[in-house]
Amino acid sequence: MTKISLTVDGDQVSDDVEPRMLLVQYLREKLGKTGTVIGCDTSNCGACTVHLDGTSVKSCNVLAVQADGGEVTTIEGLAQNGQLHKVQEAFRECHGLQCGFCTPGMIMQSVDLLKENPNPTEEEIRLGLEGNLCRCTGYHNIVKAVQHAAGDPA
């Protein structure tokens, strides 16, 4: 067991974890942050995407011990003071989800994408989201949601 201390969605947490425990397992199993989901065991789908120190990571591809001392934001910590993040709003507004399983990862990746490139072209959005798979929507409305959020200064 290794002791780790980190900040998750603004809260200080500290736990003893197996060195092999993945960050996504830590979030779900130890912290009950079940908003972050596991869609594959191959780092293909991106459903588990969270932010680690301000950058998007696939949390199935990061060991919990690697997040020691870091700052993690999950889909559950994105809204501030009861206000949805503009990307969350945009996904609802543009019908960018159906079953919603890929949505946490899609939103977290989109937030990171817009941080790096506040006014992306459609092609840049598609490229920026290529590591996140959706099975229901055909991506069309997801791209529209990101464009919508990019146009929203809030």
Binding site: E18, R20, R28, G32, K33, T34, G35, T36, V37, I38, G39, C40, D41, T42, N44, C45, A47, T74, I75, E76, L78, A79, L84, Q88, F91, R92, E93, H95, L97, Q98, C99, G100, F101, C102, T103, P104, I107, L133, C134, R135, C136
Partner: protein
């Protein structure tokens, strides 16, 4: 009591933000894998790496001695209690179907089949120990190629997927328009066309597909208390409950199945699975809640696949392109077992191969075949898109043969607007259609004529960037109903759907549907239906589904049926609420029921400004202080709807 918002003039068709989305965009979701119950144990499966093999021995000693392992179960261990998986659609009385046990007992028949189950205090411990289970296999010849499997038998050799059956052929199903009285003799039509017309013969492959829903399958079973509760990432909680009761001996009334948030299905979660049956057996044996969530790698080999057909098609036509006959010879790969409705999936194509066309003669022959591959079942459209692909390719071939535009050949053969209602050569009645108008509009939207001109120009100029234009028409029978038609096809269930409307004391409305959403947006669409019908606010309607204790009756979600069948059931249940409320409204308003009219959620007395909202009546009914004699204090209503046609 009072509505939270002014009701719009019409909900249906209004661009609403979905009710489902708030929880989905904030991560406040209830996926099955999220569940943690006190003392819960975790399962890991040991799966066969071989497509076909006998199990000579399984050594579980090391796995059992592993830290935090509670039990290791083999097929032999649970043979008496594991039950079997059902095939609910035996397409012929003589269909051959191998027994489908959740855990293989002495032989595996596809790579991915479960041979042992490890139960441990954590998922990690279970997986670690699963790697320590030592299974000795003796490989057997595997039936893998569909055509070779169809040709194999005990006399002629070739690998048999299940040697004891003596053949890989499971069932042969035929529809012939001459026998059914819906058309002529197809062989005669083809013979005639060989003399003086056109005969096109082609063979198309429908490749095997994996449904690949985003949420891996997951199941939790809690045996605590009097009732067995199962949460499952399933499309079919009601069918699952029935099947569990039918094969495990647990009374249906003692089983509660819950499909919480479910992350997509695409037909892939229209199944009763080995993993669900194993979870029940393990939970009952150990007396503890258990959970199993598959890895993606497991999902790809062990959740059912779709398609996998060879289509041999023969089309006869006159020289001008008027089709005179169409014959379909299908080979359909079932994989290792005849799954829940897998045998019937290709048969659904029988009614769609004629598509939107008038064929004077038609025959559909389908041979289902067992192989040593993952078992197949419903996937997106299930049997029908395969048919559309086949016939539309053939129409293109015919257009090329005749030398006309592919749209022209379709128009020549499709059912004309004035010919509706039209009974097709496959025996279905199409109630309405206007392919001329729809096609004209599509051509306009695409700029079809301009695209054709551009295409010709590029051809003529030898332009390095050429233009390809694809044409397809598409029609599909949806809803998987009515029940009596399904009965005539030997389908194991009906095609109805159930709905309830509960008027709460505060005037809010609880709606219960037997359909089970997994991304479709029932909560939004069904709220709109009820808001319109009862004249209440969209926000005041709560749609409940996916829990057999709440939605006690239902046939779940697949086959594009929820809105067309379940939505209509809901309309009828809402109308019954209004019927029940009317005499109460008349009594409270001291008016004759004949003088009342119901609109915009309000019973009004004709010619006066007097009236009462349905919510106010619900409150009065709750109090029950002043109801007409002999009227029960309830507005709650149920309706079960069975369509008269597809």
């Amino acid at each position: 009591m009072t509505a939270t918002q002014e009701r719009p003039t019409a909900e249906i068709g209004r661009d609403r933000r979905r009710k489902e989305d708030q929880r989905l965009i904030t991560g406040r979701t209830r996926w099955t894998d999220n569940l943690v119950l006190p003392g819960m144990l975790h399962l890991a499966m040991v799966r066969s790496p071989f497509a076909h093999a006998t199990i000579s021995s399984i050594d579980v000693a090391e796995a059992k001695a592993s830290p935090n392992v509670v039990a290791v179960l083999t097929g032999q261990d649970v043979a008496e209690e594991q039950g079997v998986l059902i095939n609910a659609w035996p397409i012929t009385p003589d269909q051959k179907a191998p027994t489908h046990t959740p855990v293989a007992v002495d032989r595996v028949s596809f790579a991915g089949e479960i041979v042992a189950v490890v139960v441990a205090r954590s998922a990690a411990a279970a997986r670690d120990a699963a790697e320590l289970v030592d299974v000795d296999y003796d490989e057997l010849p595997a039936a893998l190629d569909l055509k070779e499997a169809a040709a194999a038998d005990a006399d002629n050799g070739g690998a048999l997927a299940h040697p004891d059956l003596g053949t890989n052929k499971s069932a042969f199903w035929k529809f012939d328009s001459a026998e059914a009285g819906t058309g002529g003799n197809v062989d005669e039509a083809i013979e005639k066309a060989r003399g003086d017309g056109i005969v096109i013969e082609r063979e198309y492959r429908q490749q095997r597909l994996i449904p690949a829903f985003m949420e891996p399958r997951s199941v939790v079973v809690d045996p605590t208390g009097e009732q067995l509760t199962m949460w499952s990432a399933t499309q079919i909680p009601h069918i699952l409950r029935f099947a569990l009761a039918a094969t495990t001996g647990i009374p249906e009334s003692k089983i509660r199945v819950i499909a919480p948030d479910v992350g997509g299905g695409f037909g892939g979660k229209l199944q009763t699975t080995p993993e669900e049956w194993i979870a029940v057996a393990a939970a009952r044996r150990l007396g503890k809640p258990v959970k199993y969530t598959e890895t993606r790698s497991e999902s790809l080999v062990a959740a059912h696949h779709g398609r996998d057909q060879w289509q041999r098609l023969t089309l006869s036509a006159e020289k001008d392109g008027t089709v005179t006959g169409f014959k379909v010879d299908l080979l359909a790969d079932l994989g290792s077992h005849v799954s829940l409705v897998g045998g019937g999936v290709p048969v659904l194509g029988a009614f769609m191969f004629n598509a939107i066309y008038k064929f004077p003669a038609y025959q559909f022959n389908c041979q289902t075949v067992l192989t040593n591959k993952t078992w197949t079942d419903a996937y997106r459209g299930a049997g029908r898109p395969e048919a559309t692909y086949g016939i539309e390719r053939m129409m293109d071939e015919l257009a090329t043969e005749v030398g006309v535009d592919p749209l022209e050949i379709r128009e020549k053969n499709w059912i004309k607007h004035e010919e509706f209602p039209f009974t097709t050569v496959a025996g279905l009645e199409y109630d309405s259609g206007n392919y001329e108008a729809a096609t004209a509009r599509a051509k306009e939207l695409f700029g079809y004529d301009e695209l054709r001109a551009e295409q010709k120009k590029r051809r003529d100029d030898g332009d390095p960037v050429q233009l390809g234009i694809g044409i397809s028409t598409f029609t599909e029978m949806c809803g998987l109903a009515p029940s009596r038609v399904l009965g005539s096809l030997d389908y194991g269930a009906g095609g109805w759907e159930h709905a309830s409307v509960r008027m709460l004391a505060t005037g809010k409305v609880e709606v219960i549907t037997g359909a089970s959403a997994h991304g479709q947006g029932h909560e939004t669409a069904f709220s709109q239906i009820v808001a319109d019908r009862l004249g209440v606010a969209f926000e005041d309607v709560e749609v409940l589904h996916g829990d057999t204790q709440v939605a006690h009756k239902g046939l779940d979600t697949y086959g594009s049926r929820s809105l067309v069948v379940g939505g209509e059931a809901l309309v009828r249940a809402a109308d019954k609420v209004i019927e029940k409320a009317k005499p109460i409204a008349a009594h409270l308003l001291e008016a004759s029921a004949d003088d009342l009219e119901f609109s915009d959620g309000r019973f009004g007395v004709r010619g006066t400004d007097q009236g009462m909202a349905i919510g106010e009546i619900a409150t009065a009914v709750f109090a029950a202080h002043n109801l007409p004699d002999g009227v029960e204090p309830s507005l709650d209503s149920d309706a079960t709807y069975d369509p008269v046609n597809f």
